[in-house]
């Protein structure tokens, strides 16, 4: 057997006007877990798309040597035949079809007359056992959670006889528990001799799971770090990624918490929009002072997003009850518009789905929540709109050639900045940030944290919902913990630890 199962040599890939990859080399040994890290736009996904044939042979220069032979993949199908399977960040499952149907989509188990369903579900069941899924293969995808959907994707890869598994941000939408399970699964596969490449922003996971870490920056390979002992610390990886020491991952700020309460919620209960008897948020009370960052921790499905959206002009749920005060005044926010006008802003966790219009320009997205501020008598003043967009581009250091650029062309971190700009322009007193740093790189995260500090320094109240506990501990003044729709703990960040938060969640489960 060759020394390397995969060798990518001098890969160069250009898009009109941009060199996405510049002489990139990657060497993967059989049976190892190889991590690919780098800031957004460093070229990780592009490199994997070259490997999988999504960018066909001929559209790039350089060689791919796999199992000792030089390969020229023209389609995804070509690479899958050789056992290279890529699982993208956005899952490619069809919600209305069953697990079994999804698993063999495009690869159907055929019998004499059409599809052999018995074989389909039998084989699906076997692969599901390999990844530890206990569901029936006939269960619909829409009825299982994101974590399990990710496992279905892996089972699907197994059904394709995978030799080299590529995972692009597999844990970005998973909670800690599910993430751990997935990573342990990968370690299990490794013992059986499978090779994997994993792309991730979560550096703690990488140092836990990876044998080798290749760092990409601006389309070039910077270094490959040996992590056989699993002793590489995060600072070491970050240094490679950003090219400098990022000693402080959380910017410091002066704590000027005012006595005034910006947002106060009492006895808030929300019912599920379809199963109306189910309480998604159950009798929750909390408050945020002016100048304070308050964190919300909890597992996925704890009801944090639902709580935030139901407060934000009842944009989620039915049968909402409870009292809400902004700056001490009781408000009844029946629509998103009234919420915005009362000084509330909700920055969604799903920036592509719920936050931005990807095909529209930065300028148009920036003014969207408060278009009237650049209008007179309903007529848009384009010069004013562009000036506003330029102002926020400068304030938030958004990297873009022009504010006329379509938001879809920006990297994740810059999209997040445009989304923040949109809500800062709405000039709220209370901002609810839902997973504000999901899927963005370390450098951009730091900048987002700085923006949050600026906001509280101006006396605004910030609520931060996050699944990354270190981030909550690093940024917040106070942390609330939710589980299954209920508020289970409240603690000052100074006293909080990851263990305390987890135990609060686990204790409430036992009750």
């Amino acid at each position: 057997m060759a020394e390397f199962i995969l060798e990518m040599k001098k890969i160069t890939k250009e898009f009109p006007g941009v060199k996405a990859l510049d002489n990139v080399n990657l060497q993967v040994r059989p049976g190892e877990i190889h991590a690919l890290v780098g800031e957004n736009g460093a070229g990780k996904s592009t490199l994997m798309n070259v490997l999988s044939g999504t960018y066909p042979y001929g559209s790039y220069s350089g060689d791919i040597v796999y199992n000792g032979e030089t390969c020229q993949f023209k389609t995804l199908h070509d690479s899958e035949e050789k056992g290279i399977v890529i699982i993208h960040q956005e899952l490619a499952l069809i919600p209305e079809l069953s697990i079994g149907e999804n698993m063999f989509l495009g690869n159907e188990r055929k019998g004499a007359f059409g599809i052999d369903w018995d074989r389909t579900y039998h084989e699906a069941g076997e692969h599901m056992r390999q990844v530890g899924l206990k569901e029936e293969p006939t269960t619909l995808i829409k009825d299982i959670g994101t974590g399990k959907q990710q496992l279905v994707e892996i089972a699907k890869a197994l059904s394709k006889n995978v030799k080299l598994l590529i995972l692009d941000e597999p844990t970005s939408s998973l909670n800690e528990e599910d993430s751990k399970m997935l990573l342990d699964l990968l370690l299990g596969f490794k013992k059986e001799g499978m090779t994997s490449i994993i792309i991730s922003h979560k550096l703690n996971e990488i140092s836990y799971v990876a044998d080798k870490i290749t760092v990409l920056r601006d389309g070039s390979t910077i270094e490959t770090i040996d992590n056989a002992e699993h002793n590489i610390d995060e600072a070491r990886i970050i240094r490679g990624m950003v090219g400098r020491e990022l000693s402080d991952r959380y910017p410091s700020r002066e704590h000027n918490i005012s006595d005034k309460i910006g947002l106060e919620v009492n006895g808030w209960t929300v019912h599920h929009p379809i199963y109306t008897e189910k309480k998604v948020v159950d009798n929750v009370s909390f408050n945020v002072h002016r100048g304070e960052i308050v964190g919300f921790s909890g597992l996925q499905g704890a009801g944090r997003t639902e709580l935030a959206m139901s407060i934000f002009g009842r944009s989620y749920g039915t049968g909402i009850s409870g009292k809400l005060k902004i700056d001490g005044q009781e408000k009844e926010l029946k629509s998103v518009r009234s919420a915005i006008e009362s000084g509330l802003a909700y920055v969604t966790e799903d920036r592509k789905g719920n936050g931005l219009i990807l095909a529209e320009s930065i300028a148009k997205n920036t003014t969207m929540a408060r278009l009237e501020k650049v209008c007179s008598k309903g007529i848009i003043n384009f010069d004013k709109e562009n000036a506003v967009a330029e102002e926020y581009k400068g304030k938030l250091k958004t990297k873009t050639p022009s504010v006329q650029q379509a938001v879809g062309n920006l990297s994740g971190g810059n999209q997040q900045k445009v989304l923040l700009a949109k809500w800062m322009f709405a000039d709220p007193e209370v901002l609810i940030l839902d997973e504000p740093t999901r899927g963005i790189d370390v450098g951009a995260k730091y900048e987002i944290y700085c923006i949050m500090n600026d906001l509280v320094a101006q006396g605004k109240s910030v609520v931060m919902i996050s699944s990354e506990m270190p981030e909550l501990l690093g940024m917040c003044d106070r942390i609330y913990v939710m589980n299954e729709g209920k508020m289970v703990a409240e603690m000052p960040a100074a006293d909080a630890t990851q263990e305390k938060i987890m135990s609060a969640i686990l204790m409430s489960d036992k009750k």
Binding site: T348, G355, A359, K364, G378, I379, I380
Partner: protein, 403 residues
């Protein structure tokens, strides 16, 4: 701007020029005759008006209104009935008809916007419903609008399908043109000159304003080049109009609608919401914009314009029957997509849609002059629509969701 991006930006305009030259040559310049140029506008007035409304629907997410042709028939029927049988005042009839069309639009807009019935199904139902009611009103007959001088019907026709005639100015000059002696209706050409000069003046003033405030300018050559081309076209076209009866009143109606819709879509917050809904409805909703109302307004405005088209068509043809307005919706939808509106919503301009509508109109007109039968016209229209959309998708990839 390099050649490639120029071609990309003005694809359909270039296509229109090519098609126009092709038909001019093929019809031995008969297409360019003053009468044909004048008719090009009058015969396609309904498409231009309907396409404006259809654009608003399509912007919200590729949604179309199938009931347009039936609404045209129903409103035409009501107008003809009230004018000819009930002998009512034409102004009252027009107001009443537009009121009814708004009600029709509110009916559809309510189900689509607030109850979330898929637009395709709701307007398909409307297509049957309104066609049926229209035929019932006509009692399955053809109702003609009286054309006797002094009758209510004649007054109605004057409002929509007469020609502007300025006494003293329009009958004083006769020249030899197009191989005959023609009385030049100077008012049309003078109007053309005024519009051309005004456009130029506005451009100059806007540039001066921008320069004063220090805003970024587009290059002077491209901007003035564009304006001069447009001015030349206006002058040429109004000269043709002045050689044949002068300015049709219908042109003023169409121009008014087009300008209003162009203004709404490009300059107002209200218009921006249509693009936002089509771009990302959930994000729009969470930005505090009432998306239900956007749908409601799209379909209400569509039916209002369908009603107006019903009046225009009734006036041009002079009668209404059960097949009036048949497949008009398809012309409007076709114009929008040929004119570059995205089939997924969120992009498209009134200007583009007008180019699309005129392109279809020129093809129709050219083929009619050559005497090709109707069936071939359908084949060509279908081919042009498909080619236009293929070209759009392949060259721009701007639909995004498909690519």
């Amino acid at each position: 701007m390099n050649v490639k991006s120029f071609v990309k930006k003005y694809t359909m305009v270039i296509a229109l020029v090519v098609v126009f030259i092709f038909f001019t040559v093929w019809t031995e310049q008969k297409l360019m005759l003053a009468q044909n140029m004048s008719n090009l506008l009058i015969q396609n007035a309904y498409v231009l008006v309907l396409a404006c409304g259809m654009l608003m629907c399509i912007l919200t997410g590729g949604n179309i209104d199938l009931s347009v042709g039936s609404t045209v028939c129903l409103i035409g029927a009501v107008a003809a009935q009230l004018l000819s049988k009930n002998n009512l005042d034409p102004i009252f009839v027009i107001c009443f008809c537009l009121f009814i069309s708004i009600l029709i639009g509110m009916w559809q807009g309510f189900w689509i916007g607030y109850i979330h019935i898929p637009p395709f199904i709701c307007t398909l139902a409307g297509m049957f419903l309104f066609r049926g009611i229209g035929r019932k009103i006509l009692d399955s007959k053809t109702i003609a609008i009286q054309q006797v001088d002094g009758s209510k019907g004649k007054k109605f026709l004057d409002i929509f399908s007469s020609y502007i005639d300025v006494p003293g100015l329009d009958h004083s000059w006769t020249i030899q043109a197009e191989g005959r002696s023609v009385e030049v209706k100077l008012s049309a050409f003078i109007a053309g000159i005024i519009i051309a000069v005004a456009l130029l003046a506005i451009t100059v003033i806007n540039r001066a304003k921008k320069a004063k405030k220090g805003y970024k300018q587009t290059s002077a050559i491209s901007q003035f080049g564009k304006i001069l081309v447009i001015d030349a076209l206006i002058l040429a076209y109004t000269w043709k109009l002045s050689l044949y009866k002068g300015i049709p009143v219908m042109a003023i109606w169409v121009l008014a609608i087009v300008l209003i819709y162009a203004f709404i879509t490009s300059k107002t917050a209200f218009g921006r919401y249509f693009y936002a809904v089509g771009g990302n409805e959930k994000a729009t909703k969470l930005s505090g914009i009432n998306t239900n109302k956007v749908y409601f307004m799209a379909y209400t405005s569509m039916s209002l314009l369908a009603g107006l088209s019903g009046l225009l068509v009734a006036a041009r043809v002079g009668s209404v029957n059960g097949d009036t307005g048949n497949s008009f919706e398809m012309d409007a939808i076709g114009s929008c997509f040929i004119g570059g509106a995205s089939a997924y919503g969120g992009s498209g301009t009134v200007g583009g849609v007008m180019v699309g509508a005129i392109l279809l109109g020129v093809i129709n007109q050219g083929m009619s002059i050559k005497g090709l039968d109707n069936n071939w016209q359908y084949v060509v229209k279908g081919a042009v629509l498909l080619i236009a959309v293929i070209f759009d998708v392949v060259s721009n990839k701007k639909t995004g969701k498909a690519g």
